[in-house]
Amino acid sequence: MRTIQVEKITDAVAQMCKEAAYYLPEDVYQALKKGKETEESPVGRDVLDQIIKNAEIAKAEDRPICQDTGMTIIFLEVGQDLHIEGGSLNDAVNAGVAKGYTEGYLRKSVVAEPLFDRKNTQNNTPAIIYTEMVPGNKLKIELEPKGFGSENKSGIRMLVPADGVEGVKKAVMEIILHASCNPCPPMVVGVGIGGTMDKAAYYSKRALLRPLTERNAHPKYAKLEGELLELINKTGIGPQLGGTTSALAVNIEWGPTHIAGLPVAVTICCHATRHSKRVL
């Protein structure tokens, strides 16, 4: 049995909040540069140019890429032979979020109650925390700050098995066309297929953590990712003001589902697809 102190978790999470907010992942940066080379619209190229320059300024000066530094989504994989000492794991993670968002001059964008009072919690907590127990004695932390300009354009469809691949494509494209210029394209599109309604949504969030250069391990899903990307790039949405670079990638995650169902969830992310990973 290995032991880890909660302070270590708090410090790691605080650091990860800042990193994710300031430094655009290299794969996303490269995809934007490639997009600028292939973009057919002159206005679209100007927009991509500004987005690329923005990422460079943010990195060089430790500034948030976007003022929407997101609601913090955290995926934990806890080794079952790891002993966490000194307090609750969730409290340690949330303390890290509060520390990171305060020290890092990130925007506090969380309200405690959604409908009536909507009072800002002033430190961006609570985070959305997903915890999984896995073999081993390590703690893996993956952090995804999620902006809500794009989150508001995400969606879910409960298809039936007869809808098949064409039904999935139609559902995804309906959500994308409805989102249009609003979610700060070029988008990164996370698609979750299978599970239950909530599990499909979870898959679609996890999908955004995968590098944009990496296709799904299952060849049929990898092919579907390519086909969806091609369709999305034919919508004309482009980099906000029209063009051919509407999305940088489509990442699908899938899982077992019920004999009667075919849930499809789409999480749309903006060009600032941010994440950070640590193993403690």
């Binding site: 987005i51 976007c66 929407d68 249009s180 210029c181 004309g236 003001l241 029209g242």
Partner: protein
Amino acid sequence: MAEKIRITTPLTEEQSRKLRAGDSVLISGVIYSARDAAHKVMTEALARGEKLPIDWHNQIVYYLGPTPAKPGDPIGSCGPTTAGRMDAYTPTMLEQGIKGMIGKGSRSPEVIESMKKNGVTYFAAVGGAAAFIAKSVKKYEVIAYPELGPEALAALTVEDFPAIVVIDSKGNNFYEIGQKPYRKL
């Protein structure tokens, strides 16, 4: 892109009505930031017959909630937020004399009708280019509703703030114009 048009605030109706969808502009002067919560508070105040904290006549509103400024900086990262969330409040606000709005994303038919009637221009700044845009902001001063934190009503002094006219006062929509040639579905 054609040459950029320089705009200095306040923006008159006459100037606003000359701008066309697709025009690139550089805005200088004072603009005012307000987003969801400030719009709700302002329209509720108007419904009660109260006066607003600023006179919106010929002013430009920027839909923004910035990150906190680092020590020594006037403002943190400060890109536009989705304008459509303000649509429910916008016709009421445009009646207050606003002549320009800066945000990102589409607007409702009701907003576009009110823009035509009042001679208002809707500009887009590049969504997510928040550190880049911060370079054009020289001063940030909270004017009202400090309790709303990043959603407070604030005055921003800007120099050559880059934006593009996406919907003009005739209702021409550059989102539609810009997408059309590339739509191949």
